[in-house]
Symmetry: C3
Subunit: 343 residues, 3 copies
């Protein structure tokens, strides 16, 4: 959707330097920019490259204002205190072409399902009994939403408005999603947790009840092929704004706080609690019933033992078992030094 | 399915204390109990909470019998030597409402497939040539069972009776499942193993034959989005009662023993042997041709080198390379102490 | 497809010792061989077992020629400098029965899609707008190729010739695959990368533009349920001949070189560069913007920090942070020894 720089600057809250009548059609990298592209730079270092790129205009920080002589006239500038954020928002403003807002004739929507306005449902998608889908949500091709063929806990799936559920997503019955939730292809929401009881007489395992449900709040995003189990008896809950990467595993009864970030292939065992604003690297493993308190940061591949409580807003933890990174780096240095001496 | 406490106590082999005519409809946690709920407690510590909960009745151990004065009259009790197990079984007794036992008209069942009695097949599921599906098995919506479009080893898929195959499961041709097998959404059974031969003249890799098959015995349960490769020339086999969590990878030719438990995101390379009753934490990694002998326990994230043999029934191993946990903890303590001294 | 040993020897470039008129129908392991099987041995040690197996003929190295007395007459031999490679190729020669080369009537192919000759498309597969599928490619049942329901970057998917795309694969719009690419069930190609910008005023995250695409070159193979993100602004690229196992995660903007091998559950963060001929074990984790130079080998579970550059053709790295394995083993030995002394 072609827009003038003036219009974009207004919507983004940017200060415009240069001609507002120039039109751009898309954001782009510096390398692949063309004469209708909008690019961005976050530091003075890359400003020159941007000015010499093919781009039509540049989003930049205050550093790029006329004071910095070289930028005076070369290209129009949109000055923002948070240029990367303005760039992200510009993409959405430029990209929001109207999608197909239709239910594909091959989709199978149960008679008891309630589908909102301007909902798109892809080819072959299956919407189960009593599902409720909010306005302007898209359900990708081949999704299975609330399949009641199996023995999963009943209850229609609820999906809010403006959600984007990509192809091949499975959502078990009883799962509840808020608004603007994004789920990428192949993710599984609301599967049965991994809970078994051993019969001491036979030595065999029997499944514990997995009859709770899964609640995903507004603005949560979930990566491709990730799996999130429903609660055993009560609920698993992912709070507002949490962002979860690909191939992440979240066990039953887990509670994830607001704005938590979880990188790819991390796994959370049952009943783990992650408080608000925690940031987790990839391949982190957390044992059951552990708690990570608000604002902690976990380095990639670190491991946290069952029932452990990790404290420390702004502290980075690393290693298995996870300890403050400074401590861990000292240990690594000690071992490296000592082993070398012994040669 | 509403049942009297008397009837439940009989079926569960519990001793009933209190009125047998009271009816319950579901199991529940202490927090979410209502007046038709059955709850359980495993230790004296939580008995009081249970007695003061809204629940109709409590499954408990011997500790809760009238000797313990407070419990005399408050609520009916079902006394079991294994209260958690009785609770798990109670859920199945209460929950076993008749499922939809129909083949959805949109399912595509090959003419040569044989489907048993009371089988449910979900919308859009695809059942390939010569598949055999046992009585009272459910196949979820969107499953692909024995797709012969590709180049996978031929042979119809065999699925036993009382299995539960959830939505979006893929089962490659030639795979054989026993009875009461549970497979959660998105799992892939019988994919080609990761075996290549390098052509030394060109430096390129070519795929080794992956023409074996996968056998999954009775009572095995497999988590969401897990992947299990078929044998290269012979078979991959998962023995009776093994329980496998989400996002687990099992390579070609692997042999998994009875009642083995494997937590999420663990990965087993080709030709690994896991003997009976081994318990593995999450994110464990095992190199090809390694063997873990019966009854060993592997802590989360530990790693076992190719061809290694791990011995020790009841021994817990941890770290990479995995060693007895006591040894590993001493090493961690030594490093931590020594590094601190050097500050 | 039954073939004479003479014909096979010619096609494989093997020297035939013994009767060329004998026919074989399949390759097999020594254990499961029957009288129409072709087996192989790589070393003298297993030759005797092969000669006493039920197999019709044996592929072997020079070590098996008549000089080695026992082999003279027992069975026909196909002598190759690379017996394992010859065996792999024999399987393809014997196995290449004509597949079903049809488009299943339940597949949904967009009117604007271009489908080549002898293409197979499985039941319920969905081929989106402007997709192009090359000759003799197979698309498994339930695949979703180029679903434009969601908000993914537009552009038809391009798939080359002789590709094998198994069941339930999702390929996002704009993804480009070369020839002879193999993708196993449940893999997701071209999903949105994990890139967010924090709004410092609200503390909330917003998605960065993920509008690039994914290019997969000739002869790449990708395992079940693996996920590969498209570029953020430009491209993610997997170069010719790379082999990727199950449940692998590859982030946005990653560049993977020719003939790279990546074992199961390994994860590569955004903008990682893996140069040609690198070999990576399972569960390896690599931080964003790291680079692994040509010919390095990474042991299972090792971890590489963001922005790190790993040099060393033929060097094996292990541990987290990854270091040359010799160094790491010395460290492990030092710690083990020292901890024991302190008892």
């Amino acid at each position: 959707m072609k827009q003038t720089l003036r219009s974009l600057a207004d919507k983004l809250g940017c200060r415009l330097i240069g001609s507002g009548s120039i039109k751009v059609t898309a954001v782009s990298s510096l390398q692949s920019a063309n004469k209708e592209s909008l690019v961005f730079v976050e530091d003075e270092q890359h400003l020159d490259t941007a000015l010499h790129s093919a781009a039509a205009a540049i989003i930049a920080g205050e550093f790029a204002t006329p004071d910095s002589a070289s930028s005076v006239a070369a290209k129009p500038l949109l000055i923002s205190p948070q240029p990367r954020l303005a760039f992200a928002r510009a993409e959405r403003l430029l990209g929001s072409a109207e999608n197909h807002r239709v239910v594909h004739p091959s989709a199978i929507v149960a008679a008891s399902a309630k589908v909102g306005k301007k909902v798109a449902i892809g080819a072959g998608a299956i919407i189960g009994e009593r599902a409720r889908i909010g306005d302007e949500t898209t359900i990708g091709s081949g999704c299975v939403i609330g399949d009641n063929t199996g023995t999963a806990a009943g209850g229609g799936v609820v999906i809010g408005s403006h959600c984007s559920i990509d192809a091949h997503v499975t959502i078990y019955p009883g799962t509840i999603l808020g608004n603007r939730v994004v789920v990428q292809a192949g993710a599984v929401l609301g599967s049965a947790g991994f809970g078994y009881v051993k019969d001491w007489e036979t030595g065999r395992y029997e499944r514990s009840p997995q009859i709770g449900h899964l609640v995903i709040e507004d603005d949560v995003e979930i990566g491709a092929n990730s799996t999130i189990d429903r609660g055993a008896l009560d609920e698993t809950r992912i709070r507002r704004g949490a962002k979860i990467d690909n191939l992440v595993h979240i066990g039953h009864n887990v509670q994830i706080g607001e704005n938590v970030v979880i990188a790819a292939q991390t796994g959370l065992s049952g009943s783990v609690i992650i408080e608000d604003n925690v940031i987790m690297g990839g391949q982190v493993g957390i044992g059951d019933h552990a708690r990570v308190e608000a604002g902690a940061m976990l380095g990639g591949q670190c491991g946290i033992l069952p029932k452990k409580v990790l404290r420390g807003k702004g502290v980075v933890f690393w290693g298995t078992p996870a300890r403050p990174v400074k401590e861990y780096l000292k240990e690594l240095a000690f071992v490296s030094r000592s082993a070398k001496k012994q040669r």
